[in-house]
Amino acid sequence: MTDLLTAAAVTKSYGGITALSRADFSARAGEVHALLGENGAGKSTFIQILAGAVRPDGGQVHLAGSLYRPRNPQAAQDAGISPVFQELSLIPDLTVEQNIWFRREPLSVARTVRARALREATEALFARHQFPTIRPDQELRRLTLADRQLVEIAKALSSDPKVLILDEATSALGPRETDWLLGLSQGLARAGTLVIYISHRLGEVRQIADRITVFRNGATVAAYDTKAVDDETIIADMLGRRMDRLYPERKPTATERVAVRLRGFGVGHRLDGIDLDLREGEVLGVAGMQGHGQRELFQALFGIGGARGSVEIWGKTKTIRGPRQALTGRDGLALVPEDRRNHGLLLSRSVRENLTLSVISRFTRFGITDPKREGKLVDEMISALKIKAGTPEQLAGTLSGGNQQKVIFGKMLLTEARILLLYDPTRGIDVGTKGEIFQLMRDLAAKGYAILFYSSDLAELVHVADRVAVLRNGRLAAILEGDDNSERQILRAAMIETRAA
């Protein structure tokens, strides 16, 4: 059987920077084909070429035997290639259904959109692919990140593509939606679609991918049948060297001193009766199914959204009224937010400005900033965190995802707060940087930092956290440690009552 999609020696550079030096790719109809590589390996550029958003400098792509050269995203879609981008391409003020069928709406004789037909098409699409429940008439800006990702997937599926590209599509999803998407990908492949699957989660890739292509530094380095290759080899291909270990050694460093003590903590009806102690030197994991109160817990601790109950920070009763209050000084809290592109970073500002934005007072005298002292703080952070930026003046938006995340870490560490709230800090970043971030977390804990850590990837909680607090329906379902801290036990705690109800 001939391949549906082949790319040969595709190249692309931006200015002097080479994004793709030699990308080869070949995939069949009816398979799930994983595309792996570190951030900056050229995966994004490659799929943007497939999606018609970027034009290659050289090389050829063939689709179903004929030369494929889309002029724009529209042309790519007409040719049957639908991408689900990590960067969402949806419109906040349109409803779910308007977004899914945007520019392809069913029209009446008067050239207006037929509301009923639009609804029926949406419901049929949701039913056909067994989508998790989303209201079609809800405005997109009122949805969670996970639900928006689902709409993005629905939009891609609505044109019945021959090739579906999923770029880190599960990184915004909870375990339940992730399982659904994995099943869906396999189902689509069985029905003859080519699913190109990009993920940093090897477990998912192993579960569904028939074949794997690995990119490194803008070139294809290997292609395998999934069954014929082990994880170590794949990671070694991605990194160009054997990865020592993804997860750092975990030495218990927690002391008896309590950094954050919550009693009867709650927010609205989404979080209630939380009793929790976060100790100095501890990484405390937080787990739960999507929407069971994890986000509310982090936001309330950071002063977003009113909270009730008692909060003690380093032994003192506190009311945190807003982010400014939470941030202040060595007794403060610092947050790595969920949506780093919108909430954590000013993309059009430099690395330096991003790092020092919330700590301007640290290098200000008599209301005037001291560029030398600022420069020193910035240089220290860049070298400590190994942020790969040409100069401190490089725009944050031009960094890779992993390096952007490091800038956010740097910004947080500069506040000198010793209580860190990390909300999914490794979402959508590459394996190498993930390893560095885990190492950093353990190092900080050893220095006496107290870290509250939520991850949508359970394996990270199991391997990095000392203890894991599991939330269910906004309540604390269990605190797991030692041998109980396993993916199996976390899932049991997160779901077991749900099963009974």
Binding site: L94, R111, R142
Partner: protein, 338 residues
């Protein structure tokens, strides 16, 4: 372990609570329209308590006639604001439209009709040019339309340096004509509403709003930057020209300076009516309510026999209250829904 098969069922209390929060959220989401409605009701109640015969068809006919020029100008402005832009040139276009009408209509009905269409076409063309300049030169709409406003105003001055000129007698009867007890202005309002309910459901209408909401996403989905701007500003120019034509049926003269009186009020009417200056949010119904609010304030100042300078002061306060109230409502809506 498969989780997709598990049904997630919150208990009954949570559902009830959730439902209450849901309806509260929906209500708050509509707040930017509900608030101006309440304001208009309050103003009308005050007006009605001060004067006889406020709640009659005659009063509706009068107020609609008084509001119509602003309403037409604000319709174009609404479309531009939904796109996330602003159109200052409507001031120049209105002035130019009135002086062209007052100097070119003559007394031959056929000639007048031809020029009326001509003025509408000039409006659409100038607007389209605005849109093209904004897209091709990648300039701020504020700057481009400020420039075209100045150019159009100057042109109007050259054609007719002072207020004056004349219009055919039949033309000025338009405002007095009635059908089924409703004045031509009220029928025009209904026509405008019909246009809007059609337009907002067309692909162009949705695309304009979508582009205002998130330009990049809209362009990625196949919206043409040039096309959308030409259409948006072209419509705005067309409505400004229509506003000018309507204005001449009332004043019976041309004025090279009158247009500037409609620039900021057209924005104010839209914003009071819940349209976001950041684009993507709101609709013409809000703008219509906003235009009536501004008109009723004028009536109130007249009835109360206070200095007419109070009108802009009260309008400004109303504008602030409307914007503040919708912003508070939007914030609590967001809280209760996410």
């Amino acid at each position: 372990m498969t989780m997709a098969t598990l049904e997630h069922q919150p208990d009954g209390a949570a559902t009830r609570q959730g439902r209450a929060a849901f309806w509260r959220g929906r209500l708050l989401a509509q707040a930017s329209l509900i608030i101006p409605c309440l304001m208009l009701a309050a103003l009308l109640a005050l007006y009605g308590s001060l004067r006889e015969g406020v709640f009659t068809i005659d009063e509706l006919n009068l107020d609609t006639a008084a509001a119509m020029t602003l309403l037409l100008a604000a319709t174009g402005q609404t479309i531009v604001l939904l796109r996330g832009g602003i159109d200052l040139s409507i001031g120049g276009m209105i002035s130019l439209g009135t002086v062209l009408a007052a100097t070119r209509f003559g007394s031959d009905p056929a000639q007048a009709a031809a020029w009326a269409f001509g003025i509408a076409a000039i409006g659409a063309l100038v607007g389209a040019l605005n849109g093209a300049l904004i897209t091709v030169l990648r300039l701020q709409p504020f700057l481009v339309t400020l420039a075209t406003w100045s150019i159009l105003s100057g042109t109007a001055m050259i054609i007719l340096p002072t207020d004056g000129g004349s219009l055919p007698a039949g033309w000025m009867k338009f405002g007095f004509s009635q059908w089924l007890g409703l004045s031509s202005s009220v029928w025009l309002l209904l026509l405008l509403l019909a246009f809007w309910f059609w337009f907002k459901r067309t692909r162009l209408g949705i695309s304009i709003r979508a582009t205002g909401s998130n330009e990049r996403s809209a362009f990625l989905s196949g919206v043409s930057p040039l096309g959308i701007n030409v259409a948006t500003y072209g419509l705005s120019g067309l409505f400004a020209a229509l506003a000018a034509l309507y204005l001449t049926t009332q004043t019976g003269a041309g004025s090279p300076t009158i247009g500037k009186d409609y620039i900021l009020p057209s924005v104010a009417a839209a914003v009071i009516g819940g349209i976001s200056l950041f684009g993507g949010r709101g609709g013409l119904v809000g703008t219509i309510i906003g235009a009536y609010i501004l008109t009723i304030i004028g009536n109130l100042v007249f009835v109360l026999e206070v200095s007419s300078y109070w009108q802009p002061i009260v309008s400004g306060i109303i504008l602030l209250i409307a914007v503040l109230a919708s912003s508070i409502a939007e914030k609590s809506a967001r809280r209760s829904l996410t």
